[in-house]
């Protein structure tokens, strides 16, 4: 955010400041409500997709094809008893889900959903902020594992901390190529930089980095095949095994929002955000009628589908395989990508 203009408006014109604050709050409310609705329906979408991949139907009973299932789930979780383990660390236990949800929801602030719709405008450290927030959400998981005072939860928390530290590096390194090419950390500028090329999407020139990013994103959001922090067959439910009711659903929402955030980053950095490639726009000019948000959401939904698709296909990694994949394969590959990208950028 432009700090100087922020303070300048505070001093000179208070009404203008208040007005801007109201607009800002309204924007935040809209984004959060829409994000939570997306969480609700991405659970429905996931159950449907995985159901059909396993030749089942998925939810069918609540509403037409189970469309009201997310709300039924919400009502169920809302009225469930809130149990806090008597031997657990009570304040930390209560704080952990809030940290997890706060960290993931605040990542939404820098995502450019469509032309000129960003909550925090001109945030010149956009990508760094996203990395910071996704690391922060690991605190929620670790603290949850610690405060539950249960061996399963603790093991889940430990696994999560190790996993997030390992894959955070590869995740950040895989995006350095994008930073080099676009010359910016601001997500809006990254999209604008992509528009300067005829292909309009960095996935064309940074395809290996995109694959690396996807793998790391799966690990970062604790999704299959890297869902060791919540490995059901080994750890019951992992770090949130002692959580019930609304506190459990906070973790649940955090996980799904993190998944949406990761999809948003992939779309923004590799698929040109809300834009279409200039070559497509030139060939089919009538597509300009469609608002940018539609393209953005379509791309995000494709990524979400990929998350579910992989979950329905790939079994869970063994822990040492996970670590060796992260440190011995992904990080060297990401470094090599940076070197090659820099050389190519320097030469041309």
């Amino acid at each position: 955010m432009d700090i100087s203009s922020f303070y300048g408006s505070l001093g000179t014109d208070t009404t203008d400041f208040i007005l801007r604050m109201i607009i800002m709050v309204a924007k935040i409310a809209v984004v959060i409500v829409i994000a939570l609705l997306h969480v609700a329906y991405s659970t429905w979408f996931e159950r449907k997709i995985i159901g059909h991949m396993q030749i089942r139907l998925g939810p069918m009973r609540v509403g037409y094809h189970g469309l009201l299932q997310p709300f039924a789930d919400f009502v169920k979780l809302f009225f469930k008893e809130d149990i806090i383990p008597s031997s657990g660390d009570r304040p930390v236990f209560q704080l952990a889900p809030m940290i997890a949800l706060f960290a993931t929801i605040s990542s939404l602030a820098v995502i450019p959903f469509f032309d000129d719709f960003v909550i925090a405008k001109n945030m010149n450290v956009g990508l760094l902020y996203l990395f910071a927030m996704s690391s922060l959400s690991a605190y929620g998981i670790i603290l949850a594992g610690w405060s539950s005072n249960s061996k399963y939860a603790f093991l889940g928390g430990l696994r999560s901390s190790a996993q997030v530290i390992s894959y955070e590096i590869a995740l950040a390194l895989s995006l350095v190529g994008i930073m080099v090419l676009s010359g910016s950390l601001n997500l809006v500028e990254i999209i604008e930089a992509q528009q300067k090329h005829w292909y309009g999407m960095y996935v064309v020139v940074q395809f290996p980095a995109y694959i690396l990013f996807l793998i790391c994103a799966f690990a970062e959001t604790n999704r299959t095949p890297f869902d060791l922090p919540e490995a059901e067959s080994e750890l019951v439910a992992g770090y949130f095994v002692e959580y019930s009711g609304m506190r459990f659903s906070l973790f649940f929402m955090a996980e799904y929002i993190a998944m949406i955030i990761m999809s948003c980053i992939a779309v923004t950095c590799f698929w040109g955000g809300w834009t279409l490639p200039p070559v497509v726009m030139k060939a089919l000019p009538f597509l300009a009628v469609v608002p940018g948000l539609v393209w953005f959401l379509l791309k995000v939904y494709c990524h979400l589908f990929l998350f579910y698709w992989v979950r329905a296909t790939v079994p869970r990694f063994r822990y040492d395989h996970l670590m060796s994949l992260g440190w011995k394969v992904l990080i060297p590959l990401a470094l090599a990508n940076i070197v090659i990208t820099s050389i190519v950028k320097f030469l041309f």
């Binding site: 991949m53 396993q54 139907l57 296909t313």
Partner: protein, 224 residues
Amino acid sequence: MTVKQLIDKVFLTEILKGMALTFKMMLSKPVTIQYPDEKRKIYPGFRGKHAFVRDAKTGRQKCIMCMKCVNICPSQCISLKKGRDENNKPFLERYDIDALRCIYCGYCVEVCPVCALVLTEEFGYCSYTKDAIFFDKDKMLKNWDEFVAKLSGDVYWNKFWRPNGVDISKMPKSKREQAPVPIRPTPAMPSDTVPGKNPVNPAEKTLEPAAKVEEKPEEKKEVV
């Protein structure tokens, strides 16, 4: 490591193959049967709700109180009491099946020498009370009437009356001669003895059922 193995490892071919399979499966038709709305076809020989066969001649059950079913029952859910009427003639005083104990093995049906007992193809009879799933002899007859009312044919045959793999010559005579049971009221049998059954037009009920009755056992014998 050969070149092919290297390529497989770099491009994650196995994972892509798996993902192609799951995608193909997603487009195929789900096998789910939405149970209360649609029910799967129950095949003959399904062992479900217990019933007494209502004898076409007497209009009552055919039990001869031989105690074979009581003795063979592995879960001991059948209890039988023989009573004597004023002429010192034995009659079935009590016949109870506790269906909650029953394991639906069908031994009672196989062992019954007169084919009086049957496990019908009826399966949906859960209840909130134990009493509703405790069948006495009247309820067993009622189960038969309810079951038969849903059948489409004129006769009923249960394959466990003549179990596969058992030499037919070793079965009792009554079992050997057992014909498929007519389930529609015939002119010989007053329709009022079968509750819940209203014959549409007695004139239409000629000897057709009987003709079919004679055909069926011959077919059966060939199979056995």
